[in-house]
Structure formats: structure tokens, C-alpha cells
């Protein structure tokens, strides 16, 4: 018998005795006796039981778009991310160019997709494209990583990225500044909606990395004092058009 079988056998052996339902702390004498039907609190639902409806317990999100946009903006501000909505592409690219000049960007890392390519064209700086593979040192020396995303989550102020939508795994964490270019239709209400979207968009061939980015990289490991830019980006900018 290999280790897999040994471990699975031990698990099946252990699970022959059902456990009390959470919060009932049934005393040991209530544990089942062979031949005696077990208490309702000891019966475990089958694995096909419906998943919990998390939306009813999680932080509240308003139903309308303006409410959700305002909530996202509020959350982004709390997280020390920079979030801005623009009326059209001209405004957005002007803001990007302004940001480039203020921070003196020399090199840009990005991936080829509609919005990110357009942004790179506006920036007029040498670009390290990740699509066909890239040199890690070259990306590390870039001043900014420009990516698209799958969704913005109003409930938490998060950006949902995947290795397919955002130019791979490293692009959104290696350069010191991460700029996300999103469309306003990409705003979703909450985390359950974000997971539903992932399933609908990708299942069953999910990208190998899917992740929520909630503000710029941070640590509190020294005296629990917040420091931004622990290992990932020090700055997160979300531009929405």
C-alpha cells in the first residue's frame, strides 16, 4: 500500500465515528454506540450540500452602480491605493502621461491587450512585454507595471487579476508601481460575484494563477506599524474608463 492509500485508509477509519455538529459540544457519552441510531447533531450532510450563501453575512454593498463605485473609491482610499474614473480615453491617457512625468518613468512593463497596449502607446517609453516570455532582470528594472484586470470588487476595493488577464504572475508584483487599467463595466458588487465571474469566464480551464490584489503591498511585521511596499509594489493606481 502506498502513502496515498495509507493516509486515505486512516481517514476513512477515523470518519466512521461521526463528529458533533459545530457549537453543540456533545459530551463523549453522546458519541454513537454501534447499533444505536446517531443523534441528528452527529449526522453530516452529504458533500453535495449547497454552498453557503455568503452574501447575506458579508459587508453590505448597495445595489446601484453609483453606490458600488462610491464604495470602491472609499475602500481604495482606505487601502492607500489611487483610484480615478475618467470620462473618456483621452482624459485617462493624459493622466497617465502626467503620472509618468511626475514619477519620471523610464521603462514600462506590460502585456499586449486592448487597454494595456493603448496605455503603453500613450506613455511613449520602451516597453518590456511579457507575452512571449521576458527577461526577469529587465522587468525588475522597469519603473511601472501596466496591466488589465478581470474585475474590480466594490465590497473590498480589490482588483481581480489572473495570469491570463494581467500578463502573467510577476507583472503585477515585481515593478515598484502597479497601474491597472479597467473598464467601468468591470466593477462587480462583492466577492461571491467575483467568484461567479471567474467560473463563468474560465471554467474548467482556469488560468494557473488567479488573485485578488487589495491595495499596495504592505507589512506590519515591525511593531505592527504599517509599511507599504514590503515585497510587491509600493504604489497601486487604478484608472477606470
Amino acid at each position: 500500500m502506498n502513502e496515498r492509500e495509507k493516509i486515505l485508509t486512516r481517514i476513512r477509519e477515523a470518519l466512521k465515528v461521526p463528529a458533533p455538529r459545530p457549537g453543540t459540544h456533545a459530551p463523549a457519552s453522546h458519541l454513537p454506540v454501534p447499533g444505536v441510531p446517531s443523534l441528528p447533531s452527529l449526522r453530516v450532510p452529504p458533500p453535495t450540500a449547497a454552498p453557503v450563501e455568503a452574501r447575506r453575512w458579508l459587508p453590505k454593498v448597495g445595489p446601484s452602480f453609483p453606490e458600488q463605485l462610491a464604495l470602491f473609491a472609499q475602500n481604495a482610499a482606505d487601502l492607500k491605493a489611487h483610484f480615478q474614473v475618467f470620462a473618456d480615453w483621452t482624459e485617462l491617457s493624459a493622466a497617465l502621461v502626467q503620472l509618468r512625468d511626475t514619477e519620471n518613468w523610464q521603462r514600462v512593463a506590460s502585456h499586449q491587450s486592448e487597454l494595456s497596449s493603448q496605455a503603453c502607446a500613450a506613455l511613449q517609453r520602451p516597453v518590456c512585454w511579457t507575452d512571449q516570455g521576458y527577461d526577469v532582470l529587465a522587468m525588475e528594472s522597469c519603473d511601472v507595471g501596466v496591466t488589465e484586470c478581470d474585475a474590480l470588487i466594490a465590497q473590498t476595493g480589490s482588483v481581480l487579476v489572473t495570469s491570463r488577464s494581467a500578463g502573467g504572475r510577476a507583472l503585477s508584483v515585481l515593478p515598484p508601481h502597479h497601474v491597472v487599467i479597467a473598464r467601468r463595466e468591470q466593477l462587480v458588487a462583492d466577492l461571491p460575484a467575483a467568484f461567479a465571474l471567474l467560473k463563468q469566464k474560465y471554467a474548467p480551464e482556469f488560468p494557473s494563477m488567479m488573485g485578488f490584489i487589495t491595495g499596495p503591498s504592505r507589512t506590519g511585521d515591525i511593531e505592527r506599524i504599517l509599511v507599504l511596499g514590503a515585497h510587491g509594489p509600493k504604489k497601486l493606481t487604478i484608472f477606470c474608463v
Binding site: 457549537g23 453557503v52 495570469s163 503591498s217
Partner: protein, 464 residues
């Protein structure tokens, strides 16, 4: 007395005498509580969320075999190599085997309590590998040659001054003691390591059976980089970490962040479903997932305490525990400290050797109340005490209670004891604090009030 108990008592006495250190920890955890309560209040119903999370974990753990099989099938379908390890030795052999086959020299690690559990770093260093912890707190305690103080905040016991000195000594840094500058020192050191490491090693917070994914929760971005740049990725995860559905994370990710750190969601929550897939820009060419049992199935076999496997390692029970706050994380001498550590360590490392941890509890229940997945922690501490006494009764304690039982059950004996009990007190004074005193552990640090010569009942009868 076993050496574990002696070590615990010595360390507890030393740490509790250090009022400055205790104040430091209390302030840090006080701030955590404020942040956590604010985040809890944002939930429409934190209590219902706890109940839902507990039921989800209950379902998952009580069908562990089915979920594990589904998880592994889905992982393997995307090209991930899955390994099973019954114990720490096997896990270390598997991991060392992968590293040797890859002819690896340097390993970058993101935080994994499972690796602390199997003492992986020592084994790797002995085998000649260079291992660097990338989580800032873990990096700091690694430089100090210490175990993590807390499962979520590994370096919370150190002041910025101590960290500055450590960095100056070990890294030759000339940084001031500002947390910002110190963090940047570590960032610079680590950047180079990510790029040159042969292997990226991670732990995992959840394993999603339905889609075959490992979810990693972090704040710094170190796990994201560890899983992005090195050519080979190795993940070590306990078998109990499974969740049935992808959307279960919608509940667990914000709950872990809230209970663990008082955040709405931690900075990076990432789900990995395989190595680099065709058409993707980067990621490891190979991904190995090592599933670790290491006596988790023993705990599973104890139906009464099975819910201890629901633990998501958020550290909330440590943060609110009056014992943890006063004796500190290192005193426990275990990988998992605090209430949950006191519950599970006897299962993982022997009841008789670790039962003292269950006695070192005020049974106040703060841990049970704080637990986001409703583990019945303080009752389990009682269960451990009961099991330890049943397994190995303490002779003197039993005799003492037997004598007390005889006296308390007989009205005549009881009234005599009440009437003449005070007469024995001079005798007690003679042995007070010496080895002959049966209550020495108690009387050493506390006064025993004099027994009155008249009982309340007598006084009531003859009241003026």
C-alpha cells in the same frame, strides 16, 4: 517532572516578570482588537458568518477522503505533481529529493507553518541548501535563529531597535530604526534572492477540491513572487486544509483577514491551479504539492476534538488569550502556540508530555468566542485534562479528593471539620512554602486566609 513542564514553568516565570515586554505585547494586541472589532462590525452578521464557516469546515473535514481525492485528481489534471507524506520524515525526504533532482542551490520560502512543524529549514541547511525566509517577520526570526513568536506575527516580540541592531549585525545595514527603512533593507536583500533562487517554496491556507487549487493569503507579495519567478515551485500543505467549493473562499478570505489581522481582506489572496500553462507568460515549469498528514489523522479519529482540524491558523485565539498575552509565544515550546496549540499539540506530540499546556488555561472561553470557525477550544482544553487524568491518574490527587469526598459526604465529619479546621492552621504554618506543604505551588505566591473559628451557619443561628 518532565523537561517540557520545567521549561514551560521557567520560561513563563521569566516572561511574566518582564513587565516591559508584556506591556509591549499588550499594546500590539490591543491595537489588533480595535481593528478587528471595526472589521467585524462591517459584516452584516459576523455570528452567522462564523456559523456558516464552521458548518462548511465541518462538512469538509467529515468528508475529507472524498475532497482530497477530488483535489488531487484536479491538481494532477493540470500537470501538478502531488506527493503524500504520512509524517515529517517522509515530507522532508520528498522535499529534499525534489531539490536534489533539480540540482538546486538556493531556495526562497514564503511563510509556511507546516514547514516549521516538520523542522524543514534545519534539514535543508544540514543538506547544504541555502534557504531564505521571505516574509519579513519570518526573515527576522530566521536571522535571530529563533522560532516564530506567533503564527501570524512571527516577530511581534521585537522592538524596532532590536531589529535595527540585528540588521546591522547580520546584513551590515546602516539603516535607522524607522520601520519603513528597515522594511526597505529586507526588500532589497530579497529582490536579488527571488531572481536567483532555483526553488520557490510556499505553504497554503486553503485547498479547493472542486477546482484543484491552493489558495495563499498574504500581505507582502512575497508569496506572489515566490510562486512567479523560480523555475520549480514546492507547496507543503496539511491534508485538513480542503474546502469543497471555489466560492467558499468568498466567506473564508474576508473572515481570515478579519480574525487574523483586523483587515477587510489581506493584500494578496491568490489561487494557484497548476504550473505555467501553455500560452502563459511566466510561472514555474514544475509544481509539486506535498500533502502532509503528520498525525492529523490521529486528531481526526478523536470525534470529540475533530473540529480542531477546522483551524484556519488565523491566530485570533492567541491574540485574545490571557495566558498567551502574559507568557508569550516562545514559552509554549511548540510549533502552534496559544489555545489551539494547547489543544492540538498533545495529539501531535503526546498527551502526557504536553498536558501541562491544557492546565495553563483560565478556561475563560475568550478563545472559543474569537474563533472564526467556532472550534470548541476551551472545552477541548478540559477534554485534554480529563483524558490525561484517565490515562494516567495522579495518585496523591486522587487520594486527596477521596478523603475530601468522605468528609464532605458525611454530615458529622463535615461539621467536625468546620468546627475544628482552624486548629490545624498552626500546623500548616510550619510547613508553609516547604516541600512538605501539599499546596506549595499555590501558597508559594499567595496568602492563605485564616480559617474563622465560627462558621457562617453558626453565626447565623446565634446572630444578635
Amino acid at each position: 517532572m518532565s523537561t517540557n513542564v520545567a521549561q514551560f514553568q521557567e520560561a513563563a516565570a521569566r516572561v511574566t516578570a518582564d513587565t516591559r515586554q508584556r506591556q509591549f505585547i499588550r499594546t500590539a494586541l490591543g491595537n489588533y482588537e480595535i481593528a478587528r472589532d471595526k472589521r467585524k462590525a462591517a459584516f452584516q452578521s459576523w455570528e452567522s458568518a462564523r456559523q456558516a464557516a464552521a458548518l462548511t469546515k465541518w462538512e469538509a473535514v467529515n468528508h475529507l477522503d472524498t475532497h482530497l481525492e477530488e483535489l488531487v485528481a484536479k491538481l494532477e489534471a493540470r500537470g501538478t505533481k502531488v506527493h503524500w507524506a504520512s509524517n515529517g520524515t517522509q515530507a522532508r525526504e520528498i522535499i529534499l529529493g525534489i531539490f536534489a533532482a533539480k540540482q538546486a542551490k538556493s531556495i526562497i520560502k514564503s511563510k509556511a507553518m507546516t514547514s516549521e512543524e516538520i523542522h524543514l529549514n534545519e534539514a535543508l541547511e544540514k543538506a547544504g541548501f541555502e534557504v531564505v525566509e521571505s516574509d519579513l517577520g519570518e526573515f527576522i526570526v530566521q536571522l535571530r535563529g529563533e522560532a516564530p513568536y506567533h503564527i501570524v506575527f512571527p516577530s511581534m516580540h521585537l522592538t524596532r531597535g532590536q531589529i535595527r541592531e540585528l540588521f546591522a549585525q547580520e546584513l551590515g545595514s546602516t539603516s535607522s530604526d524607522s520601520p519603513e527603512e528597515l522594511t526597505m533593507v529586507a526588500r532589497r536583500v530579497m529582490r536579488h534572492k527571488y531572481i536567483t533562487a532555483d526553488i520557490g517554496f510556499t505553504g497554503g491556507n486553503f485547498a479547493i477540491a472542486e477546482t484543484g487549487m491552493i489558495s495563499i493569503t498574504e500581505n507582502e507579495g512575497n508569496a506572489r513572487l515566490t510562486a512567479a519567478l523560480p523555475k520549480t515551485m514546492v507547496t507543503l500543505i496539511g491534508i485538513e486544509k480542503v474546502l469543497p467549493k471555489l466560492e467558499d473562499l468568498a466567506l473564508f478570505l474576508p473572515m481570515l483577514a478579519t480574525a487574523g489581522a483586523g483587515q477587510p481582506l489581506t493584500c494578496y489572496n491568490t489561487m494557484y491551479g497548476g504550473p505555467r500553462q501553455p500560452g502563459e507568460a511566466d510561472g514555474p515549469e514544475e509544481w509539486h504539492v506535498v500533502l502532509l498528514d503528520n498525525l492529523r489523522t490521529e486528531l481526526l479519529a478523536d470525534a470529540e476534538q475533530r473540529d480542531a482540524l477546522h483551524c484556519i491558523r488565523c491566530g485570533a485565539c492567541l491574540n485574545v488569550c490571557p495566558i498567551f498575552r502574559n507568557v508569550g509565544g516562545h514559552t509554549y515550546g511548540t510549533t502552534y502556540s496559544g489555545p489551539v496549540g494547547s489543544v492540538i499539540t498533545p495529539h501531535l506530540r503526546g498527551l502526557q508530555d504536553w498536558k501541562h499546556l491544557s492546565n495553563a488555561s483560565s478556561l475563560c472561553g475568550a478563545c472559543t468566542e474569537a474563533c472564526p470557525v467556532k472550534i470548541d477550544l476551551h472545552h477541548h482544553l478540559l477534554h485534554n485534562r480529563r483524558n490525561a487524568a484517565t490515562e494516567k491518574p495522579a495518585f496523591l490527587e486522587r487520594m486527596g479528593y477521596k478523603v475530601f469526598g468522605i468528609i464532605a459526604n458525611d454530615p458529622l465529619f463535615w461539621s467536625l471539620a468546620k468546627k475544628f479546621g482552624w486548629l490545624t492552621q498552626p500546623l500548616q504554618k510550619l510547613v508553609l512554602g516547604t516541600a512538605l506543604d501539599p499546596a506549595r505551588a499555590w501558597t508559594k505566591t499567595r496568602d492563605l486566609p485564616p480559617l474563622p473559628q465560627q462558621s457562617f451557619k453558626d453565626w447565623w443561628k446565634h446572630r444578635p
